[in-house]
Amino acid sequence: MNLDFLALAQMAVSGGLMGMAYALVAYGFQLTHAAGKAVNFGQGELVMLGAFTGLSLSGCGLPYWAAVTGAMIAGALLGWFVERTAVRLALQQHNEGWVLLTIIVGLFWFSAAENIWGREDKPFPVPWPESALDFFGISVTWQELAVAAGALGMMTLIELARRYTMIGIAVQAVSADQDAAELCGIRSRTAISLSWAVSGIAAAFAGTIIGPVTTVGPTMAAALTLKAFSVAVVAGLGSSFGLLLVGVALGASENISGFLLGSGWREAPALILLIVGLALRPQGLFGKKIIRKV
């Protein structure tokens, strides 16, 4: 009994720490959704490309930190590129085509990654030790700590920039009311592009911290997109604190259901939660209800 409880707690803790990375990817959705009411259905591919870029850079002999920075720069460019090529075009035509276009661009990234880096999963070397720390019988690896700290740090950093720099406030203004922001002299297109670039940075960074845990391969994209979507949708696109909470809960539930029902079922509870959550509360647990205007 006692042992079982401990095992479950162990599962929950390591899953929860990993869940913070899902929250970080979901945070990328929140950024772009706030700015331009669109999200990238190929966000997982950006995570994957970020991880591959980091991997290649550290393969070139660069230290880990430099490789991560390089990946983030690549992420910014890729995020900006998706907005410029896919999203803005579709929104100009006033339809939901952006969903398709982001999927299509993601498909292209996938194919490119397959051909450039190959289909096999590759390990991502990291500078910290493989050993684990022990907290009251629950072991936490340095790797898991790094994921949690990285995700938390990145989200805090972006959130601080959003709230306490003029440009961050301007981006928030664009999400609140694009026309009014333009009237204040804020270039809303630039603000939206910036949001996508930052979202790309978050995704690429997430790739470099998830990569060491899951190994890096083209197929890591699809599963991650879905998990991050689940987090974003269940939490509602509007509360970063909600994202963290739901992310941790999802990570923990994944591990526990994998442990109790078998590894094939890992993702099932999260998906059921997503469908039920959407049906009961479309605006998300922490979201605000939207008023229809006529």
Partner: protein
């Protein structure tokens, strides 16, 4: 200072503004008067670049500004207080005001310090806003929201202020207050273009006025002469 030549604009379908030519001289207050749906708001939006005009010219300081994005027009000194206020409701009162001065403020630096002089000025003018500076703009009452919208516009230090229906949705007593503010702004020498459904009040505060009906100017002249014109009143009370 501002001049439009045969401006046409509209949303889908017919033109809502059908060839309007108006002029606003430096330091004057000009009113656009007309019923709901006459095309005032469309005209004002076309001036500010929120919708692209379908024809005609808008000259500001002698330069054609048609086709520029709204943010660029705002940076050149035209500031619009839009119909329905359009505040950034999730942001605080102070953040709303700071955003008014956005082009002048440093993107990453100590923006509050740069803007402190202007902020103090606005808070002196609207003490209610100072009391509520850290509240969300959406939680303000209607009158306070209108003051905030005016304050946000003044933060831009505009060369031309355009007020679109500043009285909309306000109780009569607040409407009077808003008009008092407009009068005092006018006294400081500000150039103002005022679009208003309340004919009487608009004619009282302005120097010149254009009466707009179904997208065209039907009457124009000094406000004093229009106020005496029975045709104007007829348009309002039938």
């Amino acid at each position: 200072m501002l001049k439009t030549e045969n401006l046409r604009a509209g949303y889908s379908g017919d033109d809502a503004v059908r060839g309007i030519s108006i002029e606003v001289a430096e330091g004057s207050c000009v009113a656009l008067v007309g019923a709901n749906g006459a095309g005032k708001s469309t005209l004002v939006k076309a001036l500010c670049g929120l919708i692209e005009p379908r024809g005609g010219k808008v000259l500001f300081g002698g330069k054609n500004i048609v086709g520029l994005p709204a943010s660029e027009i705002a940076r050149r000194g035209i500031s619009l207080c839009p119909e329905g206020r359009h505040l950034f409701s999730p942001l605080t009162v102070e953040e709303n005001l700071l955003l008014g001065a956005y082009p002048r403020l440093p993107s990453f630096g100590p923006f509050r310090r740069t803007a402190s002089g202007d902020l103090r000025h606005i808070y002196e003018m609207f003490p209610r806003l100072a009391e509520r500076r850290f509240q969300q703009a959406g939680s303000l009452s209607g009158g306070e929201q209108q003051m905030l919208a005016l304050g946000r516009m003044l933060m831009a230090r505009p060369r031309l202020m355009i007020l679109d229906e500043p009285s909309m949705g306000l109780a009569p007593i607040l409407v009077k207050e808003i008009f008092k503010t407009i009068s005092s702004l006018r006294a400081t020498g500000m150039t103002i273009l005022l679009s208003e459904q309340f004919a009487k009040s608009a004619l009282l505060v302005s120097d010149r006025a254009y009466i707009i009906e179904r997208g065209s100017v039907v009457l124009e002249g000094t406000s004093a002469s229009l106020a005496k014109n029975p045709a104007v009143m007829e348009a309002y009370l039938g």
